[in-house]
């Protein structure tokens, strides 16, 4: 009897959890996609710092005490800029596994092409 109740509970929980939605980010958040100018010239302090800190130098990743290379400040980022370019812009597999948004890639690429201004 207990077994049957357990069985029924497990099966039921799957049915309940199968709350299906058909949402699309473009429809759900019409304003948040492509609302920033991806091509605006940036310096480290006016945007790249935020981009790196939210995508790469997050806690446990490429920050102090995390995985090498540490990208948490301008000097360190500049020292590893070739591998950052390779993984985030060329190979597009960092942050693992699928890379950043196309807009962030453009921002970072433009910044590197402009000579990584501080």
């Amino acid at each position: 009897m207990i077994k049957k109740i357990l069985l029924a509970t497990i099966l039921l929980s799957f049915v309940v959890l199968s709350g299906c939605y058909y949402d699309k980010e473009e429809e759900l958040y019409p304003n948040s996609i492509n609302n920033t100018d991806c091509n605006a010239p940036l310096t480290y302090n006016t945007g790249i710092k935020t981009l790196i800190n939210s995508n790469c130098a997050t806690s446990g990743c490429h920050a102090a005490g995390g995985i090498s290379p540490d990208l948490s400040n301008y000097t360190l980022l500049k020292a590893s800029i070739s591998s950052v370019k390779f993984r985030a812009i060329d190979a597009k597999n960092m942050p693992s596994p699928a890379g950043m948004s196309a807009c962030n890639i453009t921002k970072l690429d433009n910044w590197i092409k402009a000579g990584t201004p501080e």
Partner: protein, 303 residues
Amino acid sequence: MKKILLLSSLILLVNMAWAQDDLLDELVLENKKATPVLATFKGTRIITGQSNENISKKHLNFLVLHRFGELKDDAWYYSLLGFDNATVRLAFDYGITDKLMVGVGRSSVLKVYDMNIKYKIAQQTVGGKRNFPLAISYYGNVAIDTKTFPDLTRNNYFTSRLSFCHQLILARKFNDKVSLQITPTVVHRNLVEKKSTPNDIFALGLGGSFKITRSTRLNIEYYPRLNGTDEKTKSGVAYTDYLGIGFDIETGGHVFQLMFSNSTYMYEQGFITQTTGKWSDFGVRLGFNLSRTFSFDNETKHK
């Protein structure tokens, strides 16, 4: 004289063996009951995808799955064949009955928790007058992506984190050397990026296992998607179909699975719909599955 004695006793022995064979045959013929076919595949997974196999009643299976980084990422010696970028999934599977199995797991990629259920609907049978030709199982799971939402200023919903997978597993063991499987699959994502992206992705999994030696088998697994094949990642990389080639190595009590595949994901939603590696481009990863079974069944406990 001695030689003759030896020869005649040998003939007698052979004759006896023949006679015994005949008796055995008669026994089998008399007892024409269909028995289930066992060990279609060595593990509960062919490679990354599910096989028709369950673990036995009251047994707990502890799984450690690893996928390394892509071989093309660095020179092979620099990150040791991708070892430095390894991802992991830890999972527990439990057999409630011999036919029903439930499991939970946690993947390091995208911080995903998953819960799954596998039920044996029918078993392939052999030796009877009427044999059932296929093993049929249902597998379903729900995955919860617990990564921080990319944009915290917008109105985020918990349901956006959920995705589901349903599979009908059709497997057949042809003989000791060859087992094949067809796995019609549907994956549902509650939230996708573009209007044109379908929330439901259909795929037709194909899998096979081929015996090489007594304790090793070669496994192949391919999950071509049937729709939504033009989907891309946010960074603009096209998703590819999952293909894995691996080996089962059995070492008393453990099954060790070693494989090359193009996906970093170890749950269905991930490897079917979000694989980005290309075999043609060396976007291949080394990986392995380790499993250890613990018995909680006091009646059939061996040790």
